[in-house]
Subunit: 351 residues, 2 copies
DNA sequence: CTGAAAGCGCTTACAG
DNA sequence: CTGAAAGCGCTTACAG
């Protein structure tokens, strides 16, 4: 007759727990735990049996319970203040690409660096959620105080910035400077000599790097950036209009303007139109980012394509590498290069 | 001499736990728990004492431990497939507005309805994280299968859509139809009679509602939508260019076109430019959404302003109301009305 | 109104 | 290589 021993302990009603798996595999829950955590101290046979049952039942450990025991969570945070929706969404997508299949989830924390409670808010967020790690895109990434805070809280982080601000394993350095240089080369090849620049806010390193790249390129051709041909914008469309209007009213007006992002380049197009200038016949315009706006304005923008989503994915992978859960990802620096996309807004210098 | 009794039990080293608070308040941790959960069965004195200590220590309960005991988490999810970055970011911001101060965090789950694993992925996401609730913007909100899945998983949800698809307490109904009607009225007042329409994909309810509104407005003026003046787009810029090109090549070309969103309206501007038509002198254009693109194209777009962020905030509040943690928020329907913003792209009908 | 016991689903020492 | 005990920080019955 069927003994108790033979009563197949089958898949339980709700979601199975570690106890269910242990019972079914006829091992202790500690052994199941070892399998879950890839401990080497499990015999091949035992491991196979446990894994088979995990596979069959579709068991996946409860991140809350696990987190409680580990004293940390399985959540990754993104802390950001970048105002561009497209940047934000691309970055989020990229991080999720890197997180996929890991069981980690992404929780978002937009913030305002100018708010008085900004650092306190971040502290509560990180502490309460016991975040596994945090991704910091610019310009949040450039805040040393925030980095020190995260260090104090023992929270791993990856900073994304246009210059190395931290230990390499915590950094992704984007190639903004080389992007600026590519813009300069393109304009110089088209015969431009009087080249202007609309910068982003001086509080963004990317803005400085993009400018430095432009100056690299100009210098290589024996040219330089005239103070008269520089205007400081705010990475917004409106500031592009304002700076553009200013630059275009100069006595010796530039024949080409490099804008530190697409939004401002779109604003410059507006200013050019109002000033009665044709683009690219009278004025060439180069943007930066290659976001949707670049193909939605007229003429479409020549710009530098930034691999935001790829960077987001890398950031997630580097986060795992920080805690030895994974190898440091091989960064194909070539894939991070910002490539010039030539469209309608640039043409030969007027003669 | 100082007795043990007088040894002030002070703020502990790390973050305080419920046990620390209990010890300091000289009550059991169950009583602290009652205070945290606003149980009425606590004397005013005890409550005051506990609250004072909680305030002084800055104690906040560990969401993981609490969640483990409650068998749910303190996470709210947003599941979305809307391709517009601005919509997504505004919606996220709105939800966070509604969550602020509650201790809940927002975890994001973009998805692709066409993917084979889409529903399975959502199931794992919701089940594993034991989400407190989920916000579903369009077009995800229109997926009955998904709604049924969430119901099966006993996960609260709020659906945001242009038509009532569910019980009112789970719905936020946006006023797309009235928006379409406002567009029609505006164009009719400007003297237009041949009014065209570029729709979104037929799989989006909003597209139908915006069209129905347009037809309401036309009918009120004794007009109707000629099949010749309708084109089906995809809510993208490129589809706006294509549909615009088609509509503008009709023998009896419309003098005004209402586009179901701004992206397509921007595309239509492009098509008009190529066709040598001036906007608004030869052609009036109305968009929908009032996203950044509306003020970044030339001429700037007359459009319907959609209160995306407000809707997001309401969604979060309604989620709390579903579980009796809060009153059903008073919805000021007026605040959800989509208002016409008149800019440069509309003008009197050509004579 | 208040508290001691048991439990949520995992893990970390500690034995063997 | 494997397991029984205790614990992570909370809560739910159950008493009183």
């Amino acid at each position: 007759m069927a003994g108790d021993k033979d009563d197949e302990i089958e898949i339980p009603a709700g979601r199975p727990t570690i106890n269910d798996i242990a019972r079914m595999a006829e091992v202790s829950k500690k052994t199941v735990s070892r399998v879950l955590n890839k401990s080497p101290f499990v015999s091949a046979d035992t491991r196979a049996k446990v894994e088979e049952i995990i596979g069959r039942t579709g068991y996946s450990p409860d991140p809350q319970a696990r987190g409680l025991a580990f004293r940390r969570s399985f959540l990754v945070g993104i802390i950001f203040d970048n105002p561009n929706p497209q940047y934000v969404v691309n970055m989020q997508q990229g991080i999720l690409d890197g997180l996929r299949g890991s069981g980690y989830e992404l929780v978002i924390h937009p913030c305002d660096r100018r708010s008085r409670s900004y650092l306190t808010d971040v502290r509560h967020f990180v502490e309460r959620q016991k975040l596994y790690g945090v991704v910091m895109p610019p310009s949040i990434s450039e805040d040393e105080q925030l980095a020190r805070l995260l260090e104090e809280l023992k929270c791993s982080y990856i900073r994304i910035a246009s210059v190395p601000l931290d230990r390499p394993e915590r950094m992704i350095v984007s190639h903004d400077r080389r992007g600026g240089e590519a813009a300069a080369r393109h304009l110089i090849e088209l015969g431009h000599r009087r080249i202007g620049f609309i910068s982003g806010p001086s509080t963004f390193r990317s803005s400085h790097e993009r400018r430095a790249g432009l100056e690299d390129g100009l210098a290589a051709a024996g040219l330089s950036l005239s103070p008269d041909h520089i205007a400081e914008g705010a990475y917004t469309f409106d500031s592009g209009v304002a700076c553009g209007t200013a630059l275009l009213s100069r006595a010796e007006r530039p024949t080409a303007v490099f804008c530190a992002n697409d939004e401002m380049a779109a604003g410059l197009l507006q200013a050019a139109r109002r000033a009665g200038l044709r683009v690219p016949q009278d004025l060439s315009v180069v943007g930066f980012d290659d976001f949707q706006v670049a193909t939605q304005v007229w003429p479409t923008l020549t710009t530098l394509h930034t691999p935001t989503r790829d960077i987001g994915r890398l950031a997630a992978l580097k986060l795992f590498a920080l805690s030895d859960e994974a190898e440091e990802p091989e960064i194909d620096e070539e894939s991070l290069v910002m490539r010039l996309v030539v469209r309608e807004s640039t043409g030969p210098a007027p003669t």
